[in-house]
């Protein structure tokens, strides 16, 4: 016969309250609890206890939730800082910077481009003495005419 009324199922489930470990269990539970507590105190390190208490505090007081708005504000502040930092090159340059003539090219006042700047770069090597053998550079120590950097290679040959 199928069960038509959910209350019948409820009545059957309620019978589970008659399941019991017995009075002897409850009588010895406290002793076991004390025994376990003593052994746990010896086993747990101070760090474990601290960790557990912090975790419990976060769990019970919703401590993690408290940090959400603070974290969000911090993230917003960092974001805003980054935005303004990256946006600064687009701002108009100071008047003195634009107006200052850098190079006079036919009377136009322009800021020199990178190419123009490259044109003006001239690599100048320091003047070095020219020896009678045609070598340019410092004479190698020991009076040899072969430069020091080449000498090792010659020895291998």
């Amino acid at each position: 016969m199928p069960m038509n009324d959910p209350e019948e199922a409820q009545r059957l489930i309620r019978l589970k309250r008659y399941e019991s470990p017995g009075e002897a269990y409850y009588a010895s539970f406290l002793d076991e609890f004390k025994e376990r507590q003593r052994s746990e105190m010896l086993r747990l390190s101070a760090r474990d206890l601290l960790f557990e208490r912090v975790a419990m505090w976060l769990e019970e007081s919703g401590g993690a939730k408290r940090f959400v708005p603070v974290g969000a504000m911090a993230a917003a502040a960092v974001g805003a800082g980054l935005y303004f930092a990256t946006a600064s090159p687009n701002r108009p340059a100071p008047e003195t910077y634009v107006a200052a003539p850098v190079a006079d090219l036919g009377g136009a006042e322009i800021v020199p481009s990178v190419e123009a700047a490259e044109d003006e770069i001239h690599l100048q090597l320091p003047r070095q003495p020219v020896h009678a053998t045609g070598f340019v550079g410092q004479p190698s120590p020991g009076g040899s005419l072969v430069p020091a950097s080449v000498r090792g290679g010659l020895r291998e040959l």
Partner: protein
Amino acid sequence: MEREHPLAVMPEADRSLPSTSPTATAATPAPSAPVAEDGIAGAFPRRPDPDAELVERARDGDTRAFDELVEKYTPKLYGLVYHMTSNREDTNDILQEVFAKAYRALKRFRGKSAFYTWIYSIATNMTLNFLKKRNRRRTMSLDDVDLAIEHDRDFIEATSKSDPVREANISELQQKLNEAMQKLSVDHRTVVTMFDIQAMPHAEIAKILGISEGTVRSRLFYAHRQLQAWLGDFRK
């Protein structure tokens, strides 16, 4: 030691067992009963925590006071954990951990809720965490059934009908009930344990689980329908 029924620590007005239908609230609006400070509806002011003195003494370092709390709440919390796990060894381990955790956290117990609610929340959370970690359903390890069941009105009524339940022995019935409980989802099993077996009011369940009363009623409704189907097979 005479065990105290879970209802014994609840306010009198909380002991009614309203309908479990999720539509019950809408269909029969509750009278405008004052709502107590702790959120439990009923025509009663918030009663002082009956455990306040023991808790205070325990917080001051009186270990005997905490022992009294352990003795008082062991049967109630045992029932909660056992009916959710259907395993007596697991229940014992979890219960030991619950009291150990409560002892360590007692200094931070502010008394915003009753000690009863607070320690029930600890036990429920620890059991739920345990059940989440327990991947496979473990073999059931069941307690003995008190023979007083034979005098229970529901048992007599259920077994007096012309169906096989009458012929089934008690342990077979126990096995079937526990199997049905373990088939339920953890959330449904929790509310069935609290409401049907431990006779806790909706408001108290909602408070302990941190959900609305509507959610409690809804979970009970669907859990009862499932139980009806599974236990109905038993009666064919």
